[in-house]
Structure formats: C-alpha cells, structure tokens
Symmetry: C2
Subunit: 282 residues, 2 copies
Amino acid sequence: MDIIRSLDAMQQYSLGAKKRGLRIGFVPTMGCLHEGHLSLVKLARARSDVVVLSIFVNPIQFLPGEDFARYPRPVERDEALCRETGVDIVFYPDEATMYSVDHSVYVEETRLSGGLCGSSRPGHFRGVTTIVAKLFNLVLPDVAVFGQKDVQQSRIIQRMVRDLNYPIDIILGPIVREVDGLALSSRNRYLSASERQDSVCLYHSLRRAEKMVKDGERSVAQIRAAMVSAISLSKSARIDYIEFVNDRTLQPVTVVEEPVLLALAVKIGATRLIDNVVLKLT
Amino acid sequence: MDIIRSLDAMQQYSLGAKKRGLRIGFVPTMGCLHEGHLSLVKLARARSDVVVLSIFVNPIQFLPGEDFARYPRPVERDEALCRETGVDIVFYPDEATMYSVDHSVYVEETRLSGGLCGSSRPGHFRGVTTIVAKLFNLVLPDVAVFGQKDVQQSRIIQRMVRDLNYPIDIILGPIVREVDGLALSSRNRYLSASERQDSVCLYHSLRRAEKMVKDGERSVAQIRAAMVSAISLSKSARIDYIEFVNDRTLQPVTVVEEPVLLALAVKIGATRLIDNVVLKLT
C-alpha cells in the first residue's frame, strides 16, 4: 500500500495507470473509517485494478459551528484498516494545497441540494460537489463508490457526473448497520453511552414506517406522526427533519408512491445523525 | 478528419487515444471560424498528437435578448477550414444531449467573473465555465487552447483548471487582427459597412493608451478620458466599459502598474465588440 500526499504525484500516478490500461476504483472519505467505508472499498476492488481511498476532512463542506476542528482523525488506525482491506493507495491531499488562498471556483447543484440536509446545512453540498469534482480530476477514477447512508449526497454526485459528463461510473454501497440497527457513521463516536442507546430511534422509526407501508398505509402525514412519536420516546433526540421525497427529484411527496425515499436527520444530544430507506410498496 | 456528434463516442474516442499514449489538443469554439480560431488550432497541433475542435453554440452563456438564435452557424465553411488547418476531429455535441431537461449542476467562478463583461452579462461566465468543464470531461484533453481576445474568459478558465485540478495545460493564443487593427470575431459579420469603419475605434483607443503609457502617463483617469474621446469620434460607438484591472485579480486599478490589463467593450450599433491589451511599462 502506498501513501500519496502531493496532488501532482496523485494525478501523475493515475495518468500513468490509465496509460497502462488499469482501471482505477475510488473511495473518497473523510477518514475515521468504519465497516461502512470498508464495504465501499470492497465494491471498488471488485470493479477495478487499483483502489485509491482518499482521506480529507474537507473544510468547505462544514458550516460555521459544525465539527470541522474536532472531526476525528485516527490516522494509524485508518491506515491499518486500509491495508487489511486491500486499498492500494491512500491519498491525503492537504488542505493548504487543495484550496489556494484565492480559491474561487465551485461546483453547485441547484435542484437536489435545497431540501433535506440542505435546509439545515446551507452551502454544505456546494462544498461536497466542489471537493468531489477536484478529487475526480486528481484521481481520475473509472469507478467511484459512495455510501447510501449519505443518500442526498449520493444523488447529487450522480447528478454531477451526469451533468458535467465525468467519465466515471458511480456505484452506491448499501448502509452498514450495528447489530441494533444504528447506521455506521464516524460521528457515532461522539455519542455518550445513554445517547448511544437513544440513537437507535432513527432505525426504529424507519422500521416502523416500513411496517406501516407494508400494511397498506400511504399517507405521509400518518406515517410521519408515528415516526415522531417513536422518536419522542428517546429523551436526547430532537428531530431535524423527517422527509418523504421522490427518489429522483428529491421533492416532497404527501402520498407514498414509488420511487419514494424516506430520509431523516435527528440530533442525539449535540450529535446530528442521518439515516434513510427507499420504501418498497410490494 | 472525423466528425463526432455523440457525447459517448467522443469520450470513448478520447479514452482510447489516451490509452494509446496520444496527447489530445483541444480548441473549444462556437463555430463561425476565422483566422483567430485557426491560430489556436495551430498552437494545439504543435503540442499534441490529435487535435479536437468542438463547435457548440452554448445556450446557457447567452443572456435573454442576446444573439443566441441568430449566432452564425456556417457549417460547411467551418468544416472546410478545419480540414485545411489539420483538425483531426470536429466535435458537434448537440444541445438536447448536452443539457438534460433537469440539468442542475453548474461550475461557478466567484472572484474574477463579476467585473468587466460580467457586469453587463450576469450569468455569462457561469455558462462558460459549465460548458468548458463539460467539454473537458468529454474530450479529456492534455492541452486546451483559448484566445486572448476573450481575456476575462481565459483568466477564468485558467482559474477553473487550477481550482478544480483539471489535468490540462491551458495555452493562450494572441489576438489576431484585421489589417486595420480590428480584432477578429465571429460577431464582426454583424457590422454594416459604416459600422465596420467605426469598429476600428476599439483598436485605436487601445493604441492611444499604449502610447500614453509609453510616454510616461500612469493615471488611469487621464488615459481613460483620452480613450473615451478617441471612441466618441465614431458615431455608432457606445462604450460599455473601459477598465484597467490587475491582470491577476481583475480588480480595478487607478494607477498603471504591472501587471495591468486594459480591456474594453464597445457597442457598434447593435453589435457588442471587445478588445484588450496587457500594458507594458517598459
């Protein structure tokens, strides 16, 4: 496993690999890796000759007051996990090189970015699309893998690849969960023991919704009300949003009709967690 | 010379060429080619194995009321010129394929785009950076050539390549002029005979400024005043802007100090023309 820090070295490596006919698989991350990330590496591995995993805590996707400074950066553990999982290149672009003092070019998605997490995190997705565009141009992957957990991000990246014509296949990896259902996230480590217990309310509310849909309920209002009351059982939980949206347009719906995505964000104490499910009607 | 219309065919061609170790040179145009464009093809030719010239009148860089619909599209003449000049591929992406009905991703430059032409054409440069980003991802060039005539555009594209890390060398070709000094432009054909005579006022005013600087004048106000009176001799001329800006930041200056760019836009009748010079102090 090699470690690359220079942007130019990364790009030269990839240009060389492509010339040799190698397929490059790419997993962009902010580090603090968990089984969710590693499942994406495996998906990349199966579709490419070389797997590049980038670790970069991207400042421009954090809002003022968010956890940029304290976002965990367990470098040695991350590298060990990469080695075990068969990553070929860990790419650590450094912040100073990534953003010039007069950086002024951004990639912006204008239709899918407003709702869901975009409402409470304005500017977040502009930071995401910009960094992913940059990483795509540095790593030059044939295939890039993103997690379904960050569902709005994954839809926006798919749109970016389509609209800007990147020659890249986007693969989505399913959500990986703890035994009790909590979706894996680097931010789960912020939770205290009691918050950790409460955090399962996101999953439970999603399961409740799935069950209601399976039993024939189609009213978003009814299902949302049941989810709210399920979540309210957890003392430390404060709902940011529970949204039912068309899975292609991400526009809110009032009646459950495929394709429908149910996504939610809940603050457990000071930690904001997200989760989602694509509802199946049959 | 080959003609490619399909986005996918273009991208596959380029991926194949890169795998074979060929360097791709790229000249993006809106067609209606003239010697200015052809000089860019020659610059591309000298630096690459394959030269791709794209012809696409990009709707999103035109404002309502501008000349999108009547922009000249002399297809056969363009193709003959490409053939004569040694273009290998003419790429005609069609509008319907380039922009999906729900297209929603744009590339935006936020510091260099506000002044100069950006003031009178808000949104224009967002259209330019977006189409160029798309074309870069479709043609995958090693080197791309732009004209110094569209100087603000060229500075913005250089910034985009830097900030989004495109693995592309940007080359700028000098302004090509008619014998009397008028900068070549596809829009010159809109001029009536008398407007054509008046149109030389842009060049004359630039020469006047250069002479004043050579003679020691450093006051932007003084030089601008002389340019305004030079242009006012042409009946059909109406000044849009005459700006002296730092050539790196494109911010206005009041005293001529290197690096300084002098750029102007003048309407000759209904036709808006632009020209510029980088002032040399010694």
